[in-house]
């Protein structure tokens, strides 16, 4: 049974705002009382304001927009490949972004400018996704199985190359530990620069995808059917996948490897509002953002000596969901 999109939207917006306020109030330093005073214009200490405005708020925004971006990219990829298992993780886009970012950090290119890592990630994501397309022969006729197989193959290859870059840089201890931490995904170093880049990436690419919700609906049909309804499915698929690349790369550059959000959140959103993209895209974006914020809450309240990584938390949430999908599949249900 599906819920009405309007009501769901309202509930999700309220839940996200509550979660965001909670996020700003927990941790060492200012709590709820101080936050309320800050928001109502009461007396607060400068160090408390600094913690909320310069440390927690940018980190919150990176989580919110990053989670929204990964979930949106997942929705786009699942519709484009007509396959509920497609996601930035599975078709190599995230791996390409991670490789580009890792290379930038190790070669110290990342220190050159604030946008250096995002650009390197974007280049990596686009290159690997392009290669997946070429290998699958997608510029001729599209084979969805071919695309997924090529994605899995390149995922493995690029993952191995990334590992090589990390071990190669072991001579330089700081660089290699920095890359390793970044690869495991985390938000603790988020500044306003990271927040702006993540928000801008989400704004631009989600803004380009938003007017194409009906194209996404039609692309879930076979290409001939989409064609007969006036959509050039192979072309629309290419365009939309570049947008999904952009969303993935700008996020991965700022957060490192965040597994499963792009795969799992579209499924959860579909359970709530159904597969129609007009409702699905905003629902998935909100849900993805909240899920990443909630996961980061877990990281922040965990004891510091545990050094719990965000990518580890999302993977722990995502893997059981995969098993749930498997159980449904074995009962003969559609994923």
């Amino acid at each position: 049974m599906r819920a009405s999109p309007g009501r769901v939207g309202g509930v999700f917006v309220v839940a996200t705002v509550v979660l965001a306020l909670l996020y700003l109030a927990i941790g060492e330093g200012p709590g709820f009382a101080e936050l309320v005073r800050m928001l109502t214009g009461g007396e607060t200490r400068p160090d408390e304001r600094f913690v909320v405005a310069q440390i927690r708020l940018p980190r919150l925004l990176v989580a919110l927009f990053g989670g929204g971006a990964l979930a949106t990219a997942g929705v786009v990829m699942q519709a484009s490949f007509r396959n509920p298992l497609a996601s930035p993780d599975l078709v190599g886009t995230a791996a390409g972004a991670a490789f580009g970012g890792a290379l930038a950090i190790v070669t110290r290119f990342a220190d050159a400018a604030v946008v250096a890592t995002p650009l390197a990630s974007l280049a990596g994501a686009m290159f690997v996704t392009w290669l997946v397309f070429v290998l699958a022969g997608a510029y001729g006729r599209v084979s969805v199985t071919g695309l997924l197989l090529a994605g899995i193959a390149l995922n493995t290859l690029v993952g191995a190359l990334t590992s090589f870059v990390v071990t190669f840089s072991f001579a330089n201890y700081t660089a290699s530990s920095e890359v390793l931490f970044w690869l495991m995904g985390g938000l603790e170093r988020s500044t306003w620069t990271h927040a702006w880049i993540t928000a801008a990436g989400f704004g631009v690419f989600a803004g380009l995808i938003a007017p194409r919700t009906r194209d996404l609906d039609l692309m879930t049909l076979r290409d001939d059917s989409a064609h007969s309804l006036g959509i050039d499915a192979p072309r629309a698929r290419r365009v939309l996948l570049w947008f999904a690349c952009g969303l993935t790369a700008t996020t991965v550059a700022n957060t490192g490897g965040i597994a499963f959000v792009g795969l799992v959140v579209p499924h959860l959103a579909r359970l709530v509002v159904g597969p129609s993209h007009r409702a699905l895209l905003p629902t998935a974006a909100l849900l993805g953002g909240s899920l990443l914020v909630a996961s980061d809450v877990v990281c922040r309240v965990a004891p510091p000596e545990a050094s719990l990584r965000l990518g580890v938390v999302t993977a722990m949430l995502g893997a059981p969901y995969f098993l749930y999908l498997l159980a449904r599949h074995r009962r003969g249900e559609v994923l």
């Binding site: 879930t220 059917s225 064609h227 959509i231």
Partner: protein, 253 residues
Amino acid sequence: MTALCAADLVVRLGNRTVLDGTSFALRPGELVLLAGRNGAGKSTLLRVLLGAVAPGRGTVSLHDRALAAWPALARARELAFVPQDTEHAFEFTGRELVTMGRHPHRRRGSRLQPDDLAAVERALRAVDAMPFADRPVTTLSGGEQRRIAVARALATEAPLLLLDEPTNNLDLEHALQLVALLRQLATARRGVLVASHDLNLLAPHSDRVVLLHGGRLFVDAPPAAALSAENVATVFGVRSGASLGFFPREFRL
């Protein structure tokens, strides 16, 4: 007037020649049955006529204008398609799928208009799909999914309709209903082309039968002439007795 016209088509897939000098025309007001053995080129011909595959040689024109020169949405308002494969990856409801048939009529980002809703309603009723229209399509039987696919094509309100094996998976009652519906559409001045192996069911209701044989047009004639014992023996390799016309045109539900 010839609405959809293909001349001298040659299509190669890999190093196999699938269509070899095939010509074909579909006019408004006629129901044409396209038949032939598996691999004779029926599906390929449909895809070329849709503009989904460009022929290596030959031309396809829609209302006397090259099909490839038509803007995609304008073409979609003229030419609708029911695919053979109705497998779905996501749990859209039947009504959502039929509403997709209104895409060629809608402006980007616009909401559904009253005439869109009316067309969807008419299409769902025409295939008797109202009882299951709001269920996820993945929970429907093969026959019900097929009727949804037909309804989606009807919702476009295109004057020309191409169908690939539309009676697959349909029980006898719904198969006969579908044939009656196609006949009714043809009588209402639409052009209907049906690729099918169901000769018994469709031939008696068709105005013409087109037999493809090895990528070539073997015969294009009224049913009785096209499906002569001699032609059936050549094209299908089957000696036919008096089996054709099992459901004659006078057959009533």
